[in-house]
Symmetry: C2
């Protein structure tokens, strides 16, 4: 007999079925026991006559197989239940569980949850976070494919660090010293010049930052895109706005149950995402919030306040801050007049979730900017040479998958939205 | 005026358009010049009156913008051409090109092509390889999503090597020693146990093998899947056969032009992919091919010969070899009687393109097998603990993206099907 998933039991009333999953919970009532079996699609109540079937040795979270008849359920909120004729343990739990996963919320510290990651995923609410995360990454790819983008896979072992040697993890690469890529920045730009024009990558990136905050992890998934033949950075922002709308739409449609379960405060864009010069934002914070400590950049408090301002004034949870000063941006950023750049950040409810902008496409200008930033152009030969043979005007952006998931769901610590955390204190599991 | 892509010019006869791309080729004919502009969608001939527009300074592969009228073409094989009214150089080539990319085939060594990767991608045939590669990775994800699999992203910086310390790249992780993941093996198994049941990952893997062959690179993309609640390894093979059919179908349908351009000898499965015990294959090679040097494994010549045998006898380019001996398989492989295992390889035209099988799901058996293989279970704590709390019977497989691309296309050196090669001699670009 083929396995039936819990979600398909409704269509099988009166039939014998074989179901498989984890023993979610047990409730005993005299000679009757109710076993709750959980598989990837849901939970079902199974009625056992304990005089006929011995359930003594079966511990919660063991993997079991049940055969029986599907009947309409007497319990409220349940459509069907199983009258068990046979119970088999496929994989017995012989160890004490470090936490209970069958409650609505896991009652354990984040650290214990992360340490016992496999178990914590079995909790419905935890699983829901990653269902939504998968929706985001899948929708990112889908949307961009629809816009003519191609998916690329670029090396993560690199000789040249994106920003020039800081905050990089070192790799022993045969007899050479190499690094883990901080971002696919160089490669995605090169792939624009390769004739692909529009590319995206969903891949691991590495930051050897040793500070330990709720916003940072040392290995994460970066959603990157880069496109050629743009007029300016506004084209990238226009694309991102449509992308964000698509993500939110898909989350609400494809993850309706998860959005409800997690009680998500769905992000609101409004008419359009407001755009504001960084200098203008700083001015508003100074005059209207009496925040006078900002100079040519925002701090986390500034990001929060300007988000509140925009929410009140424009009804949007998002704001594009533009024209970041040159000294705050990497060497490849396209300069604008007055020491500013053609770059932007997207702030969502007080947190930066995207950095993007137009890039320099002239070989000579890029080389000059490297020198200005104190970098040696010879260390960037592989990257620079792509600019020698016809690089279109281009730009792009990057979104941290774990961070956007956490911020959309109102999760404070990005580790909760990270499958397996890598930080200064954690290399396992 | 918005940019028009070359592929959409047909619908614009009589209209003024703005097109952008690379200067593919120039042909002069008295006062007239023909400029061929290439964008991501194709090449178009543009007619220039050189008395009105100076094209002297414009070098091949420069990025240009042309405005003009779309007219029906006089040239054969061309539907339309552009009567140029304006030409602008967006990005000038000021350097000698290291190779010509506008020929049918690039006349340069593989090494020069790889070194000048960005340029070589501009060649139609090179680009076609990666169009097909993208079709493979995209179809892999699509097929598995249709089968209830979820995409996962697992860490590539690991403390525990899959096979226990050999052939790993070392990473300096703050004050600890870590490694680059050889495969997502441990994590995909753990994610089965997490309740996701069916998972796949498309991600980078690392092998610090120092030998330099046409089949091996040191960083590649692995298409991994793992599924719970299987009966045995035959369920994995059954899934893979349907997956391979889906890949071939999509390649033929979605990459028709590329398949023709590269003159691909489309893989043939036949009625079904034949399955044969490894020991049986060795016996056939011994008795029918007089190949007597094989003991409990095939060498590359053996793989070629058994593929020829199967092609002749069953009309299939594929064969599943099953029941590899325990000493040839990793510790997590499910044992079978007589020192064999519930594992398989998929051989395609003489080359192994998949390794898979059922895994051990018992904590105690797995621990025992580690010890048998000379490994210390304590070094695998993060992995092993996932088996303590209910691990379903499960199995999976891995396919190297670059290798399957190369073998399907009849490309001998896997580097040709690798976007940016990482091998013992190459860390750049």
């Amino acid at each position: 007999m083929n396995r039936t998933l819990v979600e398909n039991l409704n269509e099988n009333i009166g039939n014998q079925v074989r179901i498989q999953g984890w023993l979610h919970r047990v409730r005993k009532l005299g000679k009757i026991a109710f076993l709750f079996l959980r598989d990837r699609s849901g939970v079902v109540q199974c009625v056992v006559n304990t005089k006929e079937i011995d359930i003594k040795g079966v511990r919660v979270e063991s993997v079991i197989e049940i055969t029986g008849e599907v009947t309409e359920s007497g319990a409220k909120n349940e459509e069907v239940e199983i009258q068990v004729s046979n119970l088999m343990v496929l994989s017995q739990v012989n160890h004490e569980l470090p936490m209970e996963v069958n409650k609505e919320n896991i009652e354990a510290s984040l650290d214990v949850m992360i340490h016992n990651r496999v178990l914590s995923f079995r909790n419905r609410k935890v699983a829901a976070i990653f269902k939504i995360q998968e929706c985001i990454s899948k929708s990112f790819a889908e949307f961009l494919r629809g816009e003519g983008f191609k998916e690329i896979f670029t090396p993560k072992i690199v000789k040249e660090g994106t920003e020039g040697g800081t905050e990089l993890f070192e790799v022993k690469y045969f007899n050479e010293k190499a690094y883990l890529a901080q971002s696919p920045q160089f490669y995605k730009q090169m792939m624009v010049s390769s004739g692909f024009e529009r590319v995206f990558e969903i891949g691991h990136v590495y930051r050897a930052e040793s500070h330990d905050t709720k916003r940072h992890i040392n290995e994460f998934i970066s959603l990157d895109l880069e496109m050629g033949f743009i007029q300016d950075e506004y084209e990238i922002m226009e694309l991102e706005e449509r992308l964000i709308r698509y993500l939110i739409h898909n989350i609400c449609k494809q993850c309706k149950a998860e959005v409800e379960l997690l009680d998500v405060n769905v992000p609101i864009i409004g008419e359009e995402i407001p755009k504001m010069k960084l200098s203008e934002a700083i001015e508003i914070l100074k005059t209207q919030y009496n925040k006078t400590n900002l100079e040519r950049d925002l701090d986390p408090e500034g990001e929060k306040l300007i988000s509140e301002y925009v929410k009140e004034k424009y009804g949007s949870d998002f704001i594009f801050l533009t024209h970041y000063p040159q000294e705050k941006r990497p060497m490849y950023t396209m300069p604008a007049p007055n020491g500013e750049t053609k770059s932007f950040d997207l702030i969502f409810r007080g947190l930066e979730i995207t950095t993007g902008g137009q890039r320099i496409h002239s070989y000579e200008v890029l080389k000059e900017k490297m020198i200005e930033k104190g970098l040696n152009p010879e260390s960037f030969e592989g990257y620079l040479s792509a600019f020698k043979y016809g690089m279109p005007p281009h730009g792009g952006l990057a979104i941290g998958l774990e961070r956007i998931t956490a911020s959309f769901l109102g999760i404070e610590n990005v580790r909760e939205a990270t499958m397996f955390t890598r930080d200064k204190n954690r290399l396992m599991p």
